[in-house]
C-alpha cells in the first residue's frame, strides 16, 4: 500500500464543513488502542482494546456515526529525519520533497514531510522533517478496521508531531512570563502512556527534533516507573547533547505521570534548568480540558487525545493509499456541496433580486394603471366639455378662422398711403398713384405701388430743388425701410443747368417712385406694420 501525505496541509477540509461537533480519537500504540469520544472539548467516552477484533470497542463508533475518526499514532516504528534541501522555488519544493520521500522510505510506509524552517542567510536552504510510520501491524490492522467504518475518516496523525501544539500550550500556561533573552531553546516532554510506554519528544525552539519511546522495565510500582522515567530522560538528554545542546542554551523538562510516580521522582537527577511534573488530571486542568482526566488517572494518552480533538488545527495528516482515496471522495463531496451551495446561493440571490425587482415593477405598474385611470377620467371630462359645443363647434371655428384671414390685412393699404402722405416737400406734389395689392409667395398680402412726383423748379433755385429731391428720397427710404424702393428720373446739377439754358425747359421735374413689398418677407416689418 502506498502512503502519501500533503505536507503543510494543516486542516482537513472535512472539518471545515462538518457540522458534527463530536469526534473520535483513537490513540494507537504497540500495546493496544484507546478510544476517546469528545464533544466540544468534553470527554464523553473512553475505552481500551488490545486489537481491532474487539467487537465492544469497534461497536462504540456506531454510537456517533457522523463523528469523524482521527488516528493518533504512538507506536515504536516511527522515523524522523531532518533534511536540508536545496533552495529551489516554492513551486518546485513539493516535487523535490515527494521524490525524496519515495527514495528515503519504503513504498508501503505512511510518510509525510513537515517544513520546519528555511535558512534566512546564505543559500536559503529548505529545512524539512521527514516522518514515517511502518504500515505494518498493529498500525495497518487498526487503520484498515477504522477506515472501513461508516464514520467519516479524519486522517492519521503522529502523536510526537502533534506534540508541537501541546508543548506550545503547556509552555504558555506553565511559563507565561519568560523574558526573551532567557528563552529556553530546548524542551523535553515525557509522557507515560498506556498504549506506548514512556514517550519522549525533544523540541528545539518549539520544533520537534526527535522522539523516542521506551517500555517500563522491572514492574509498574511507582518507584520503578519513576526510576525508568529518570533514567530514560537522562538518556535522552545525553542524546540531545550529541545533537548540539549545551547547558547555556537552556532545557526544560515536562513530565506527565501518575501522582504516585510524581511523588517519588527525584528531579535533581535530571540536569535541566526547570522541571515540571504534572499528573494527567493536573495537565488537563492547565490545558482547560478539565473533564479529560480523573484524579486517579495514571497515563497521559487520554489527555493528549482530548487535547488533540480540541485543537483547531493540526500539524500534519498522513494517509495510506486507501485512506487517501477515502479522503478524496470526502473532498469531492465537500467540493460538490460547496459548489452547490455557492451556485445555489447565487441562483437564489439572482432569483430574490429578480423577485424584488418584479415587486418594485408591480408597484410601478399599479401606479401606472392608476395614472391611466386618472388620465382617462381627465380625457372623458375634456371630451364632455368639448361635446357641449355640439355640431356648431366646427362652424364656429371655421367662421373665426375666415374672419381672422379676411379682416387681418384689409386696412393696411390705407396705412401705407398714410405713411406716404407724411412725406412733405417744399416744391413737391404727387401727380398720380398706382397701387396693387398682391399676394406674396407665402400667401401674405404685399403691395406694389408707383408714384409720379413733380418738383417745381420754376422760379426756384436749382440747388434748392435738388436739396428738396434729396430730402424726399431720403425720407422715402427711411419711412419705407424694408421695402424695395426705386427712383427713376432723378436729375443731377449739370442736367438741370443744361435744361435751364434750353428754351424749352420744362417747368417741373418728374420723378417716378416705385415702392413694393420685399419678395422674401425676411426684411423688417416696415412702417406701421405694413409688411405683414
Amino acid at each position: 500500500m502506498t502512503a502519501s501525505a500533503k505536507w503543510g496541509y494543516k486542516m482537513d477540509l472535512e472539518s471545515v464543513f462538518n457540522v458534527e461537533k463530536k469526534k473520535f480519537v483513537v490513540s494507537i500504540g504497540d500495546e493496544g488502542a484507546i478510544l476517546t469520544l469528545v464533544d466540544g472539548g468534553k470527554l464523553l467516552k473512553r475505552a481500551f482494546a488490545t486489537s481491532p477484533s474487539s467487537k465492544d470497542f469497534m461497536g462504540m463508533f456506531s454510537s456517533a456515526p457522523k463523528a469523524p475518526i482521527y488516528i493518533l499514532v504512538d507506536v515504536v516504528d516511527q522515523a524522523y529525519i531532518q533534511h536540508t534541501l536545496p533552495p529551489v522555488s516554492a513551486l518546485n519544493i513539493n516535487k523535490l520533497v515527494s521524490r525524496k520521500l519515495e527514495k528515503d522510505f519504503d513504498e508501503n510506509d505512511i510518510k509525510a514531510a513537515l517544513q520546519i524552517g528555511r535558512e534566512k542567510e546564505g543559500r536559503k536552504d529548505w529545512q524539512y522533517l521527514f516522518v514515517s510510520v511502518r504500515n505494518i501491524p498493529p498500525v495497518s490492522e487498526w487503520v484498515d478496521a477504522i477506515a472501513n467504518l461508516d464514520n467519516p475518516f479524519g486522517g492519521i496523525y503522529l502523536l510526537p508531531v502533534e506534540g508541537m501544539n501541546l508543548i506550545k500550550d503547556i509552555k504558555k500556561v506553565l511559563r507565561p512570563s519568560i523574558p526573551t533573552q532567557g528563552e529556553v531553546k530546548w524542551d523535553i516532554l515525557v509522557s507515560h502512556n498506556r498504549v506506548g510506554g514512556f514517550r519522549q519528544i525533544v523540541f528545539k525552539n518549539g520544533q520537534i527534533v526527535f522522539t523516542r519511546i521506551a517500555q517500563p522495565i522491572g514492574g509498574q510500582t511507582p518507584d520503578v516507573v519513576a526510576g525508568n522515567i529518570e533514567q530514560e530522560t537522562l538518556n535522552t538528554i545525553e542524546y540531545v547533547r550529541r545533537l548540539g545542546y549545551v547547558d547555556e542554551e537552556g532545557l526544560d523538562v515536562y513530565i506527565i505521570a501518575s501522582r504516585d510516580v510524581k511523588n517519588v521522582i527525584d528531579v535533581n537527577t535530571i540536569p535541566a534548568r526547570s522541571h515540571y511534573i504534572l499528573t494527567p488530571f493536573e495537565m488537563a486542568g492547565k490545558l482547560g480540558i478539565q473533564g479529560a482526566a480523573e484524579e486517579s488517572d495514571r497515563f497521559g494518552d487520554v489527555v493528549a487525545a482530548v487535547y488533540f480533538a480540541n485543537c483547531k488545527s493540526h500539524i500534519i495528516s498522513l494517509h495510506t493509499e486507501y485512506t487517501k482515496q477515502i479522503k478524496n471522495l470526502y473532498l469531492l463531496r465537500v467540493i460538490a456541496r460547496a459548489t452547490a451551495i455557492i451556485v445555489g446561493v447565487g441562483i437564489l440571490g439572482f432569483s430574490a433580486n429578480s423577485f424584488t425587482n418584479s415587486v418594485g415593477l408591480r408597484s410601478k405598474l399599479s401606479d401606472a394603471n392608476d395614472s391611466i385611470i386618472k388620465a382617462e377620467e381627465e380625457l372623458r371630462k375634456v371630451k364632455l366639455e368639448r361635446s357641449k359645443f355640439g355640431a356648431e363647434a366646427d362652424r364656429i371655428k371655421e367662421i373665426t378662422d375666415l374672419d381672422r384671414m379676411y379682416s387681418k390685412d384689409n386696412k393696411f393699404p390705407l396705412d401705407f398711403m398714410s405713411t406716404y402722405a407724411g412725406i412733405v416737400g417744399f416744391t413737391m406734389f404727387t401727380d398720380s398713384i398706382t397701387m396693387d395689392i398682391v399676394e406674396n409667395a407665402d400667401s401674405k398680402n404685399g403691395i406694389k405701388s408707383l408714384f409720379n412726383v413733380q418738383f417745381e423748379k420754376e422760379n426756384m433755385r436749382i440747388d434748392r430743388v435738388l436739396d428738396d429731391i434729396d430730402l424726399f428720397t431720403s425720407d422715402v427710404r427711411k419711412r419705407f425701410d424694408g421695402y424695395k424702393v426705386e427712383f427713376k428720373g432723378l436729375p443731377d446739377q449739370n442736367t438741370l443747368k443744361l435744361q435751364e439754358d434750353k428754351a424749352d425747359a420744362q417747368k417741373n421735374i418728374t420723378i417716378q417712385v416705385d415702392i413694393s413689398s420685399p419678395q422674401d418677407n425676411k426684411m423688417g416689418a416696415g412702417i406701421g406694420g405694413l409688411n405683414r
Binding site: 451556485v343 423577485f355 415593477l361 404727387t430
Partner: protein
C-alpha cells in the same frame, strides 16, 4: 468496501445537487421571465399612459381653442357672419351695395362715381367644410375732390360693407390744381369740381352657411 459506499453517496449527492440546481435554475428562469414580463407590461402601460396624456393635451388644446374661437366669434360684427340673406346672387349684392355706395358718394363729395360688379365665384378653401365663401370684385370709377376724401371713402367702404371688403387696386391721378377758377367754382357756383380721378377695385367676400348669427348673444 467503504470506497463503494462513499462513491454511491457521492453519486447520490451529485444527483441531489443536480436536481436542486435544476429546480433553482427553473425558479430563476421563472423569476427572470416574470420580471421581464412585468417590465414589458409596464412599458406597454407607460406607452398607453403617454398616449392618453397626449390625447388629453390634444383635447384640452382643442377645447381651449374652441373656447377662444367662441370668444372671437362673439366679437365678430353681425354683418360679417353668414346670414339668411347670404348675398350669393348678383341681384342681392347689388341691392346690398348700392345704398351704401350712394350714401358714401354724397358723404365724401364725389362729383362722379360709378360701380360695376364682376361675376360671383364660390371659393373652396381647404379645412373649411361648413362655410362657403362667395366672392366678386367691385370696380369703382370715380372723380373725387381730394385724395384724402378718396382714402376716407375706401376706409368707410371696408367698414360698412356686409361681409369682407379688401382693397385690390387703386389708381388715382391729379386732374387739376387748386387754382383760382376751381376755388371760385366751388365757392360761388357750389359745383363739385374734380381734382382727382381714378378707379378702385375691391374684392368682396361673403360667408354662406348655417344661420349661426341668429343665435349670437
Amino acid at each position: 468496501m467503504k470506497l463503494g459506499f462513499l462513491k454511491k453517496k457521492l453519486i447520490k449527492d451529485l444527483i441531489f445537487i443536480s436536481l436542486t440546481l435544476l429546480s433553482l435554475g427553473i425558479l430563476l428562469a421563472f423569476a427572470l421571465n416574470a420580471e421581464k414580463g412585468t417590465e414589458q407590461q409596464l412599458a406597454r402601460i407607460e406607452r398607453e399612459k403617454a398616449d392618453i396624456k397626449a390625447k388629453v393635451i390634444g383635447s384640452q388644446k382643442e377645447y381651449d381653442s374652441l373656447v377662444q374661437a367662441l370668444e372671437t366669434y362673439k366679437s365678430i360684427p353681425r354683418k360679417r357672419l353668414p346670414a339668411a340673406d347670404s348675398l350669393d346672387t348678383p341681384a342681392s349684392r347689388i341691392r346690398a351695395s348700392s345704398p351704401i355706395v350712394e350714401i358714401l358718394k354724397k358723404r365724401y363729395y364725389f362729383p362722379s362715381l360709378s360701380t360695376q360688379l364682376s361675376a360671383i365665384t364660390q371659393e373652396k378653401l381647404s379645412n373649411i367644410k361648413t362655410i362657403t365663401v362667395s366672392s366678386n370684385d367691385i370696380i369703382i370709377d370715380f372723380e373725387g375732390m381730394t385724395d384724402e376724401l378718396v382714402f376716407s371713402f375706401i376706409s368707410t367702404m371696408i367698414d360698412e360693407f356686409p361681409g369682407y371688403l379688401q382693397l385690390k387696386q387703386l389708381k388715382m391721378n391729379r386732374v387739376s390744381d387748386i387754382a383760382e377758377p376751381v376755388l371760385n367754382s366751388i365757392t360761388k357756383d357750389r359745383t363739385l369740381v374734380p381734382l382727382v380721378r381714378g378707379n378702385i377695385v375691391f374684392t368682396w367676400k361673403t360667408l354662406q352657411g348655417s344661420d349661426l348669427g341668429q343665435n349670437k348673444n
